[in-house]
Amino acid sequence: MAGLGRYIVIRASLIVPTILILYTFVFILLRVLPGDPILAVVGTRYIPPAQLEEMRRMAGLDKPILVQYFDYLLGVMLRGDFGKTLASPIGKPVSEYLWERLPATVELTIASLIVASLIGFITGVGGALRRGSRLDTSMRIYSILTYTLFIPVLGMGLQYFLGLKLKLFYVSGRLSAGIYVPRLTGLLLLDSLLAGDLNAFTDALRHIVLPSLTLGIVLSGAYTRLIRNNLVEVLNSDFIRAYRARGIPGHRVAMYAIKNAFIPVVTYMGLQIAMLLGGAVLTETTFSWPGLGRFIYERIEYRDYSSIQGAVILFAFIVGLMNLIVDIVYALIDPRVKY
């Protein structure tokens, strides 16, 4: 078990460079964009140049760029200080917003991942077991089609049909007005259940269905392909033929085949977390979902450097953490992984 501990430490330390690279990238990108937080707040109003300089000084934007870079980075790394917002409402700790928005994104991504893997599993396994059939062909076409889907387009389509026409689900937000769920984990579905409030749970569920379905469908195609191709390969492998030659019942052989086919899928899930969070930005925007992705989107307009940097660092941290979890799961299910 000491080996596993070392493995975890090594994998965990890989999170640091991930964060550094992403932070650096976003820092430069923000400075290259035209405008700055002060101009974004001021807009077209006339402010004397001296006053503008004073505002810049207060926001710390007059310092040399490298000083700004390290000030923020060290603040986050050493003190967990994500800075203060530079746009209205000005001067509030960014961490407060991040803390408030994070659970919404976590809830959405988990729900989307469940949708994506469920669809991927059913279509992928179905296609592989009936290889070459009409079902298989349609599943493969489906998986290619999902690559061409644009999240806002699919999202609006679902909003229109399932939301506005059939009125099955809500088209925006996380919760209806007037419903309150005490915050424990911040995940509304979980918190409402813990509070025993079935009404709130149903309401939260009817809000999350469309966004998670949108993001889930877009991500599912990759799973369909991956699961199908892996399973086809495993089903043709020697040890599956050997199982059959030993008279092992078919349902058992199928189970062993699926287990073997899933190892690359777990790896892929880890790699996909980044894509998932990227998709979350678009999904949250389409569905007015009050998560981190929408927060970034809102703050870009204000050139709110510290908020955007903070949110990106948090994203990078989540991606790193999820990859770490996937690596650990991978090591636990595949005996061939050495640690």
């Binding site: 492998s237 040890f239 050997a242 092992i248 062993y256 287990k259």
Partner: protein
């Protein structure tokens, strides 16, 4: 011949591929007696593995058994459904495949895989199955504590011995070994062959499928030579090796290098035919130096030339 353990009569296995029907096994007949060691010798693509799969009815798609009969322990296997066949595979017919590196599930311990076959067929509890699995490991000279090992932690030779342990776990009457040592080095090959010999001593019949004439000659008491989906000659090992009759058999025997003589190895010129569209005559005639005009158009029937020695070649048929 009703005392034969296995009787294959006019078996035909075709593969229905997009580019045509491949006649992988075409009209093959042979029998295996209880306790004997039979070698099926042929080059790659001659249909010898397909023949083995067909006996247990595990021909992979798009292959299908299209004709013939397989009688095993006085039962017609073609009549049995999948459920009944499962009771025969592993229980009465054991299989050892070519590549020991890939014929074990990489995600399960060898003990699990060994115990499973005992549990499935005998319906015993897990504890008893594991205990028996340990005994089987010792039987194939692997320490009992290797039960908890995963396949990747064992060497190729050990893995093949475990595969053999699994295939003999239920003392099957017939053990089909499909190129069991091709992926292993010669020292390990010897050990595996010794192990198979022991299995035979305990009463099982062994069907060794190989491309290696020398190996078959060393181990088997009877040999069947396959070429392009057909058996061209079979008989007892000594007469086949010492006096091969069929030109293809002669070619095979002469292509074995001999350490003690300076004779050069003679290869057989040409390539095996395309089995999607075989010639109506003898399938070997394009490569045969002694081909007659009849060989081009008429297929030579399998004929007994002497006691228990059969050959399908026009050279030895009285017309």
């Amino acid at each position: 011949m009703s005392n034969a353990l296995l009787e294959v009569v006019n078996l035909k296995v075709y593969f229905y591929t997009l580019s045509g029907v491949v006649r992988a096994v075409d009209d093959v007949s042979l029998s295996v007696l209880p306790g004997e060691w039979i070698g099926i010798v042929g080059e790659s693509g001659s249909g010898k593995s397909t023949l083995a799969y067909a006996i247990a009815k595990i021909v992979p798609p798009p292959g299908r058994i299209v004709g013939g009969k397989v009688k095993f322990m006085n039962r017609d296997l073609m009549e049995l459904n999948e459920e009944a066949m499962r009771g025969i595979r592993g229980r009465h017919i054991g299989f050892v495949f070519q590549d020991p590196l890939t014929s074990l599930d990489p995600l399960r311990t060898v003990g699990d895989q060994l115990a499973e076959v005992i549990q499935v067929h005998l319906g015993v509890g897990r504890e008893e199955a594991i205990r028996e699995a340990g005994e089987l490991l010792e039987l194939v000279n692997i320490p009992r504590d290797r039960l908890n090992y995963y396949p990747h932690q064992l060497s190729g030779g050990q893995r093949q011995r475990i595969v053999i342990a699994i295939s003999i776990a239920l003392r099957p009457e017939l053990l089909i070994a499909d190129e069991p040592t091709t992926a292993l080095d010669v020292i390990v090959q010897d050990q595996i062959m010794d192990l198979l010999k022991e299995v035979q001593m305990k009463g099982a019949s062994i069907m060794l499928i190989t491309h290696d004439v020398a190996l078959a000659a060393e181990m088997a008491n009877r040999i069947a030579i396959m070429y392009a989906g057909e058996i061209v000659e079979y008989g007892d090992t000594r007469s086949i090796i010492n006096a091969p009759l069929h030109p293809y058999t002669a070619g095979l025997v002469n292509s074995v290098p001999d350490l003690w003589s300076a004779k050069t190895i003679k290869s057989i010129p040409g390539f095996p035919p395309d089995l999607r569209n075989p010639s109506p005559g003898c399938r070997f005639h394009p490569r045969c130096r002694q081909a007659l005009s009849i060989c081009i158009n008429e297929r030579p029937p399998m004929t007994i030339v002497e006691h228990d020695r059969c050959i399908a070649c026009w050279l030895y048929l009285k017309r």
